[in-house]
Chain length 410, copies 2
């Protein structure tokens, strides 16, 4: 098997990192449909063409480089080019740059293809406008009404942001790719978590993307003077959420798996004064697992435990399910393929879930899709000090190359 | 023993409630040194004079009605005339109006006095400018530098608010009363808590005002992606405060008394996003008890437990002691006197601490001081729906009268 050339990957990643780089905090600010985001996309198209591919931008802002025969379903390699505010230089870009390097290597080594390869730099994966626009457009889960109403946290509408870049938001619907024209989808991404590093593994063979539910929970008791209200006569809403938080590990032990996550990330007390017993608390509960049944078991247990704690502390319990995204398994043939080539390369690896969302999750709904992780130092991502060692990037790209060759070669 | 005339108390309380009454929320807005506060004080002086007392306003804005012989230390009856924003009509005013009614009743019944009686409507007890200005001025715990720098939450300086009312802030220091001129201090106040109502008692014989400590606590862990960070690799700061809250009752059971209070009233998570493991939490801890040793034991236990929880959850623990106010016991001769007359009147009663602060706590430092509670319906205070039944007010005022007569009569 041929190998990728790390120096070219490094050069492309560093070049991309200049689009939106902030000298003050050293972070990348390349949010979807900003000027720098569009500049990066045009730059990427130039690299596709320089490598001998045809390049185009679709109606959703995805940039697509294509190489190979025209009459067969394509093997897609994709990840995103946009960043969060103050993001790092590997998140997303790695998968696009590595995809390009795979095609360069295939061309250099005169590997004949039975299927074309498309390298896709997807648009707006980080959710500035509330979705994963590029991947959703390609896989057909964007509706016209959503395109009309989507807006960023400042209130700027997606359609206005796109218009400013010369794009018509309704053209997003033209980005849809007929699944019959797709053979498979592969994504190489940094883990954005601490698992691989802690386990001393180079490759994460991702089995699926965890499902997520998000609740907004309210516990309502009674605000009292913290001096005059005896402890046993209070209805202290904070004690309710505190007792629940204390039970979270037990709930996971009893109902979940080692892949389960339950997180209380936002908590607001009312009135929130030092000398007042909190009469009300509102908090978010986010649950994740790779199995739908486990997600249901976790959410049922959370509801039972919250009800019971509310009764005990004389609180009213109410919650709103803000979202419920089903887990999305990666295709087993692709998972097996990735694992096989990892073993052949002799790389250390582990099978694992992805707790974070990725473009792959939309492609997994329409084709054979797979996701490969390489380690994030300290688990850090979405921050200027995001780092993946070049040696790990090289291995990840070589693995991607092997998989692409097996899927696309004649 | 003679009785007070409830109708006059009722009339005065309702009249006072008009100063600062808000038609929209039905609350009283009579914060210290506002126009309506000063109007209420001048009205109160007129009532003192109408009852046959001499009346004056001292340099701190306290209004003082005096009756009786001039050559002996005075028996003081006092409480405050200012209110919190959107307050009720009984808090503070009851003690002033009942004091006036005691003097009226003594005059009507030709009771000869060996000691003069002074009825005091204290100023700025609710802490708009950060203290209990009137009572502190009378008992000598105000300093010139504090007078220069004190300001309300909007930044308005005390000295400017006083100047606007024609008062010179440095005259506050002239309000100091030589303790040799004071025989005793008595205050009748609504409980502002639920204890008397729940215990079906009419009178609370207050043994002392609880001490208070206030901590600002920080637990610092590590912010992580709620999807990618496994439960056992997190340093979740919220789990730290939750576990501590869970231990609060145990801490009180082991180190405190039934009079102890520990309250977490304000909690702020950082970054406070639903999908991020909270890397940091800042919260307030307010502790109260009637015994200095118990306060120390509680605070030591809180420190130990927080340290241990921080270690367990891999958090850094730091705290700042924002304030430590020692408990202030009421004088036992006065407590016994109040209890004796309660029994003689045949009123139901209980001994109890005051968890909230009152003017009494400053007088207890310089003279024999006592505090009498009557029930607050539902424990509500500092709110428009504050209510104490007239029948309970009548009993409280009669008890005050009996105590004053025993202390002041010839």
């Amino acid at each position: 098997m041929p190998d990728v050339t790390l120096a070219r990957i490094e050069k492309d990643l560093l070049a991309l990192s200049r689009f939106g780089y902030n000298e003050t905090d050293k972070g990348v600010y390349r949010q979807g449909f900003t000027d720098v985001d569009m500049e990066a996309r045009r730059w990427m198209m130039q690299q596709f063409e320089a490598a001998g591919m045809t390049a185009r931008m679709d109606g959703a802002g995805n940039v697509i480089g294509r190489y190979g025969p025209d009459d067969k379903p394509a093997v897609l390699i994709g990840s995103h080019l946009d960043s969060v505010p103050a993001g790092g230089i590997f998140d997303g870009t790695l998968g696009v740059v590595a995809g390009l390097e795979c095609v360069r290597t295939i061309i250099e080594n005169d590997i004949a293809l039975a299927h074309p390869i498309e390298v896709i730099g997807t648009s707006e994966e980080e959710g500035r406008f509330g979705g994963m626009l590029g991947a959703q457009a390609l896989t057909g889960s964007i509706t016209p009404d959503w395109l009309e109403s989507a807006h960023d946290p400042s209130g700027l509408k997606l359609k206005d942001a796109m218009a400013k870049q010369g794009l018509n938001h309704l053209d997003v619907l033209h980005a849809y790719k007929d699944p019959d024209d797709i053979k498979a989808f592969l994504e190489l991404h940094v883990e954005q978590g601490p698992v691989l590093e802690a386990a001393h593994k180079t490759i994460g063979v991702v089995e699926g993307i965890s499902g997520v539910f998000k609740w907004l929970v309210r516990l309502i008791g009674k605000a009292d003077h913290a001096g005059t209200a005896p402890m046993n006569m209070r209805s202290d809403a904070f004690l309710g959420v505190a007792e629940f938080a204390h039970e979270i590990q037990r709930i996971i032990n009893e109902e979940g798996t080692e892949r389960s996550r339950l997180t209380i990330g936002r908590v607001e007390l009312k009135p929130g004064f030092p000398h007042t017993v909190p009469g009300e608390v509102e908090f978010t509960l986010v649950g994740r697992d790779l199995e739908p049944e486990v997600m249901k078991a976790l959410s049922n247990a959370c509801r039972r435990v919250l009800s019971s704690i509310a009764r005990k502390h004389r609180l009213m319990f109410e919650y709103e399910q803000m979202s419920w995204l089903e887990p999305m398994p990666c295709s087993s043939p692709i998972v097996d393929l990735v694992e096989k080539h990892t073993k052949q390369r002799g790389y250390s690896y582990m099978r694992m879930p992805s707790g974070a969302g990725h473009d792959t999750q939309f492609f997994a709904g329409v084709t054979d899709a797979g996701l490969i992780f390489v380690p994030s130092v300290g688990g850090v991502s979405h921050a200027p000090d995001e780092l993946t060692h070049w040696v790990d990037i090289e291995k990840g790209a070589n693995l991607l190359l092997d998989c692409v060759i097996e899927l696309a070669a004649a």
